[in-house]
Symmetry: C2
Subunit: 247 residues, 2 copies
């Protein structure tokens, strides 16, 4: 048995998310099908982050156990040949059995692209929420996310979840042309968390919520019905962090 | 009769180019159909640059003559509602009858996006030519394009064309993440010219042609069979320049 780690990029637009489901196209399903052709065996992928329908990944990480060794470059070439053009396997590495794409991950980094004007060219990769007259307030509001917080206010209810604590290590905004990009790194993210955060931050950008009110919602630890979930197309799993010996 | 000028962005991936053709989806056809709904009349669009199949535009300019006045914001709203999500009309302006989208244009600016690594997310907007070990040589080679030159070496044969002279006003390379972007502004471009230039520059980047040989091909004024046409998806009409009174 040989364990392999994959570094995967995908355009989530035409996928029903990462996770395998019957009768629909998913990233996991697409790559597992390719693995079956390569290894003549039904293999199971585990991913660091199971992205939702329409969410992209620049640096998704997954692992699988193969019944026998094959050279990593041959696996990479075959997977790229056998999957759609909206999936690229950038790297294949042999790893030891202590590596687990999900459980070994120390942090995940996502970004969310907000288009500052309506766009045709970037519409698959960015969300245009209409005019945002208060961008500096959005930047100010996001500061309260840094550190360790109970993010219940920005999560779907998760049955059986033990706690809603997340350690946010980095929050950053930057411009790329007519795009405003929000980047966040944390040890974990709750379901829908980033899209709910962006929904709240967009309200701040529109002047419907002050940075103080945004912080109060966070600290209330209660779901807030006025916060909507921003669309999937702006969201991208950028990078997964592992301990040095697994990096 | 009222003349209107349109500023248009489109993702060319799912269009058979700008120019109206029967039975296929073209940008001109899509917008003219919307204009017919708005003005209850068959109107004709003239564009600054008739982009080929798969070529994008961030700032295409076109004009049309309407049988009667309508507020520009109403035209813009209607056109955006009536065309696909891969077309955005950013501005509608009333112009006088001396303005012609094509003949009044003083210069056109295009860029071409070269992906430095294979990409899923940006595959519709960038061309990945494989490894380019000699990027500085590409940048050096492009310098010979500045100024007034006969570009016959980088053009399809054009029946009835009087001359192949183009005045290149700007040539620029810049990086955006894992993208290498070539920007060029000239008073005019010949058919397939930029895609043939990029094909040649990619040969320089691969070490198959020196900057000197690239310059010799230009100065030979003869079509060169070793130069291939780079794919349409990397090319984008960025901006059209008009005299100040028409800008």
């Amino acid at each position: 048995m040989v364990r392999y780690k994959l570094l995967i990029e995908y355009d989530g637009t035409d996928f029903h998310g990462w996770q395998l489901q019957p009768d629909v196209r998913t990233v996991q399903g697409e790559i597992e099908q390719a693995l079956q052709t390569v290894f003549k065996d039904r293999l199971r992928l585990s991913a660091a982050g199971r992205t939702d329908t329409g969410v992209h990944a620049a640096g998704q990480v997954a692992h699988f156990d193969a019944p026998h060794f094959l050279p990593v470059e041959r696996i990479r070439g075959s997977l790229n040949a056998l999957t759609g053009r909206d999936v690229v396997v950038h790297a294949v590495d042999e790893v030891d059995e202590t590596f687990h794409a999900r459980f070994s991950a120390q942090a995940r980094q996502y970004f969310y692209r907000i288009a500052l004007q309506k766009t045709a060219i970037h519409r698959r990769l960015a969300f245009y929420p209409g005019q945002l007259p208060h961008v500096p307030a959005m930047q100010e509001a996001a500061q309260c996310l840094m550190g360790s917080h109970d993010f219940r206010a920005f999560s779907k209810k998760i049955p059986g979840e033990k706690h809603y604590l997340c350690d946010v290590e980095q929050v950053e905004w930057f411009r790329e042309g007519e795009m405003l990009i929000f980047r966040i790194r944390a040890n974990r993210f709750l379901h829908s968390m980033i899209r709910l955060l962006i929904g709240g931050l967009i309200k701040v950008g529109k002047g419907q919520l002050s940075p103080q009110q945004f912080a109060e919602i966070l600290h209330s630890r209660q779901q807030n019905n006025t916060i909507y979930k921003a669309p999937a197309n702006g969201l991208c799993l950028e990078k997964v962090y592992y301990p040095r010996h697994h990096a």
